[in-house]
């Protein structure tokens, strides 16, 4: 009996130690993910804020950690990818971004947050700790420089602190340049990338657009010298093409492979599509009559100008202000209207669906700036200034330039046998509604309050959330897989952050 007991006890103990684990018929293994024809050992990301990981109106530490190149590089590590470095951000101790000059002067605001007690996005009430004087020379694998336009990539001195007061240098690049006189492209090439993503061109139109069209369209002027461009100008398409081609040549000179990406359309950014052109509800005829009476002189003047042959009937129609029951269009300034100031008539009209009101106008529209005169209301009795609206004409300028840039990108890609990630199409989907692999839907459906979990765009209305950057990284993976026969795992956007919600600020 005892003997049997011993044997059994032994057997039972043995069985519990053996406790063999279950095995998959096809377990995940190292050789499942591959780089195909590509070589991920030295991946360098070239671009602007979208490459840097800029979100919620600034670049901050955790935003940078979730930049699309950082996400992509992490996946590449399963297929021969090497270390991926990003510009130094350890000094962003509060994870709020922004930047100061010499310890105190704020030169870039910290991140946008939602203040629940106010209900709207606003800058977090903290002082940035990132200092433009604290230079940590690169080069880094992530060569995304917020604010960079195509010509900045090859501009000497763009990383030189001495040029900052002249607005010829970029505070982000100052901190990361390997030396003050190096260009961004020089720092890229010095790393001898085996693989690259190249996504540029957004700022070449967007600054013009986000400023509400305050700037010059250099396609209309034909100015080919970018050193004379103002910050809000649209870059000439030929300038873009020449530099783009030169950079792609340099990137591929040693046989490196990579992906190019298109520039998003202005109307795919919630910054331009969240505020409707007709946000003025009128439920009372007396109110409409009163407003129309206020514009009776102006409307009468327009009829005189028409009778005098100064303007076309179309322009007279467009300029006639008319309020009625229901949703009414904003009254706006439009510099492209015929100048009738010598008749005492301002260049104003009511907005149409072709005009795009920018997101910051939310805090201006409907406000009476003079407390002693509540009748004067922005957007109704005070025409909204040019800086708040991208007029139909300006939208056309931006669209034409964007289309020109994207045509250049596609042409050069075809010549160089490089794949194009159509980020213009993706970001349109990210705005209007994108259903991803797991069935969840991502949108830019701001401010409805019920959908905070699935927002693709951050509070600045232009840059994606980290969730959006995860979707972008997945798109790059798709393109890399298709073109180079690689196989990489995807990421789940829902595991990435969006923005902070604070009870108060």
């Amino acid at each position: 009996m005892k003997k049997i007991l011993y044997i059994l006890t032994g057997l039972l103990l043995a069985s519990s130690f053996v406790a063999c684990e279950p095995e998959f018929s096809k377990p995940l293994s190292d050789d499942l993910y591959t780089s195909g024809d590509a070589d991920f050992s030295k991946y360098v990301a070239v671009g602007n804020s979208l490459t840097a990981g800029y979100t919620n109106g600034t670049l901050y530490k955790s935003g940078q950690e979730n930049s699309f190149p950082a996400i992509l590089a992490e996946q590449m590590k399963l297929a021969g990818g090497g270390e991926f470095t990003q510009p130094y951000y350890e000094d962003d101790s509060k994870d709020i971004g922004g930047m100061v000059f010499n310890g105190s002067t704020v030169i870039l605001d910290p991140k946008l947050i939602i203040n629940l007690s106010a209900g709207a996005p606003e800058r977090i009430n903290e002082t940035p700790t990132v200092d433009v004087m604290q230079v940590h020379p690169g080069p880094y694998n992530n060569m995304g420089v917020p604010g960079a336009k195509i010509f900045h990539l090859v501009a000497p001195g763009y990383g030189n602190l001495a040029n900052l007061p002249l607005q010829k240098a970029n505070p982000y690049f100052i901190r990361m340049a390997s030396a003050p006189d190096k260009t961004i492209v020089e720092d890229v090439l010095a790393q001898q990338p085996t693989f690259f993503t190249f996504w540029i061109g957004g700022n070449d139109v967007l600054w013009y657009a986000t400023s509400g069209g305050v700037g010059v369209d250099q396609n209309e002027t034909g100015n080919l010298d970018p050193s004379t461009y103002g910050p809000n100008d649209i870059t000439n398409v030929n300038v873009f093409a020449a530099i783009y081609s030169q950079i792609v040549d340099a990137l591929t000179a040693n046989g490196a492979k990579g992906v190019l990406a298109t520039v998003p359309d202005v109307a795919s950014l919630p910054y331009f599509t969240t505020i409707p052109y007709n946000p003025i509800p009128i439920e009372d005829q007396a109110q409409a009559d009163a407003l129309n009476a206020a514009y009776a002189n102006y409307n009468g003047g327009i009829q005189q100008a028409l009778a005098g042959g100064l303007i076309t009937p179309d322009e007279a129609d467009a300029r006639t202000i008319n309020f009625q029951l229901g949703a009414n269009a904003l009254v706006m300034t439009d510099e492209y209207l015929t100048d009738l100031s010598n008749l005492g008539l301002p260049s104003i009209r009511q907005a149409t669906a072709d005009d795009l009101v920018i997101l910051p106008a939310k805090s201006v529209i409907g406000v009476a700036p003079d407390p002693n005169n509540p009748q004067l209301i922005n957007g109704i009795t005070i025409p909204l200034g040019d800086e708040w609206i991208l007029s139909a004409h300006e939208v056309g300028q931006v669209r034409t330039a964007t289309a020109g840039f994207n045509q250049t990108i596609n042409t050069i890609a075809a010549i160089k046998d490089l794949p194009v990630a159509d980020m213009a199409a993706l970001m349109e989907d990210m705005k209007s509604g994108l259903v991803i692999e797991d069935g969840s839907m991502y949108t830019a459906d701001y401010f409805n309050g019920t959908n905070l979990d699935n927002l693709t765009f951050s509070l600045d209305g232009v840059h994606p959330t980290s969730r959006g950057y995860a979707i972008i990284a997945n798109k790059f993976i798709d393109v890399i897989e298709q073109k180079y026969g690689a196989k990489l795992p995807k990421v789940v956007p829902a595991q990435y952050p969006t923005f902070d919600i604070l009870p108060s600020n």
């Binding site: 519990s16 406790a19 063999c20 279950p22 692999e437 797991d438 969840s440 699935n454 795992p489 604070l502």
Partner: protein, 413 residues
């Protein structure tokens, strides 16, 4: 009574390894032969398997008790996202106590205390945390029975079932939400020990010395936890007035089970048993958690299906004292396509059992060993109902379990 309940509650119950959250470990002697005990009337274990069979025991009084140790592993992977995780389940130790007593030639009494259901899944720090971090369900039944022997061939029995259960469940609020320090916001649901009642009916038929039949029906029991407590941890400041400790109610159904069994002795020393169990899992349609404050009701669809289990067992008597046993059963998972949730990752399984019994004058000791070999399955579950954040979660699962057990029986005339 209360003290007993507390003691019982302290015994941990173990990962579910049989279909759904059924735990079929109610007698070591029978477990050695595939747990096919519906028509095997050898000792007090029949007070669980088929109380009608108490009438055919050859001892007036028999008491059996035992315990098992469940060591289970579940692995999960998903190639699309490069996910690979596995459970870190604690060792479960379900127990039983069975008493069979023939009070007269015709009337017998039985008592079975056992853990028919239970589950424990611990998925630490993993990608499905918005579905489950860890869950533990403990259910035990106390089943007194009355058996009447109509003839030398036929007996029938009726039992009352007093069920007690509690569930403890932790999951994250969603896939991202965290407090200011980055700790994920989660909810801990504690149902508290809740009682419910059911019944069982059974019949034993022994037309000859070498052939027996048995039928047993155990009713469903709905454990209705009315006074559960939901506690939220790591809540970010902006939600602190929403995610507050609150009461909740939820119903958890224990399905009914019908079993028919037959056993034969083709030769004197060999006993063969066959059982068929049909479990009415379709009662588990959804898990609905009603919070007492204004939090929205949480509903997750389960849509379980009824399942069959086929059991084949054999016992060979080596000599007066030693019995060797072996068995096989095939167990179906009640989880339906697109409702495969990692909180109860039950797989179709091949099950192999071995047993050894040593019979003394009054005491007998039985060892059993069960190996559960779960069949790999790729499936999904849908999370968050409808709306933009509704999504599916899943991948490929595989599991196994090794379950040694020991039981004792004391029998006298």
């Amino acid at each position: 009574m209360k003290k007993i309940l507390i003691v019982l509650a302290f015994l941990s119950f173990g990962s579910s390894y049989a279909g759904g959250y059924r735990v079929a470990l109610q007698g070591q002697r029978m477990l050695g032969m595939a747990h096919a005990g519906l028509s095997v009337f050898k000792n007090a274990e029949t007070a669980f398997f088929n109380p009608a069979g108490i009438a055919f025991l050859d001892k007036k009084l028999s008491v059996s008790f035992g315990v098992s140790g469940i060591m289970s592993h579940v692995k999960f992977q998903n190639e699309y996202y490069n996910w690979a995780y596995e459970t870190d389940n604690p060792i479960g130790t379900p127990f039983y106590l069975n008493v069979a007593y023939q009070t007269s030639d015709n009337v017998s009494l039985g008592l079975a205390i056992y853990t028919p259901f239970g589950s424990s899944s611990v998925w630490n720090d993993w990608v499905g945390s918005d579905i489950v971090n860890d869950i533990s369900m403990k259910v035990f039944y106390i089943q007194p029975s009355l058996t009447y022997k109509f003839s030398e061939m036929l007996s029938m029995s009726a039992s009352l079932i007093m069920a007690y259960g509690e569930v403890s469940y932790n999951k994250n609020i969603n896939r991202y939400l965290a407090d200011e320090q980055g700790n994920k916001t989660n909810v801990q649901l504690e149902s508290g020990m809740t009682g419910a009642a059911g019944y069982a009916l059974s019949m034993a038929f022994k037309p000859s010395k070498n052939v027996s039949f048995g039928i047993n029906y155990r009713s469903k029991v709905i454990i209705d936890a009315k006074y559960g407590k939901a506690e939220f941890n790591n809540v970010p400041a902006f939600l602190s007035d929403k995610l507050k400790t609150t009461a909740f109610s939820a119903e958890l159904p224990m399905p009914a089970e019908l079993g028919v069994g037959m056993s034969v002795k083709p030769i004197d020393k060999l006993l063969l048993a066959f059982d068929y169990n049909y479990t009415y899992w379709s009662v588990y349609k959804e898990l609905r958690i009603n919070f007492k404050n204004d939090l929205p009701t949480s509903v997750s669809a389960k849509n379980y299906k009824n399942t069959s289990t086929m059991r084949f067992g054999a016992e060979y008597q080596v000599n007066d004292k030693i019995f060797v046993r072996a068995g096989y059963y095939y167990d179906e998972s009640p989880l339906t396509k697109d409702h495969f949730s990692p909180e109860t990752p039950s797989l179709d399984s091949n099950n192999y059992t071995f047993g050894l019994g040593y019979q003394m004058k009054k005491w007998a000791i039985d060892f059993s060993l069960l190996y559960v070999d779960g069949k790999e399955r790729t499936d999904y579950t849908y999370v968050n109902g409808e709306g933009p954040s509704a999504h599916r979660f899943g991948g490929t699962y595989v599991s196994n379990a090794i379950i040694p057990g020991i039981g004792f029986t004391y029998s006298i005339n």
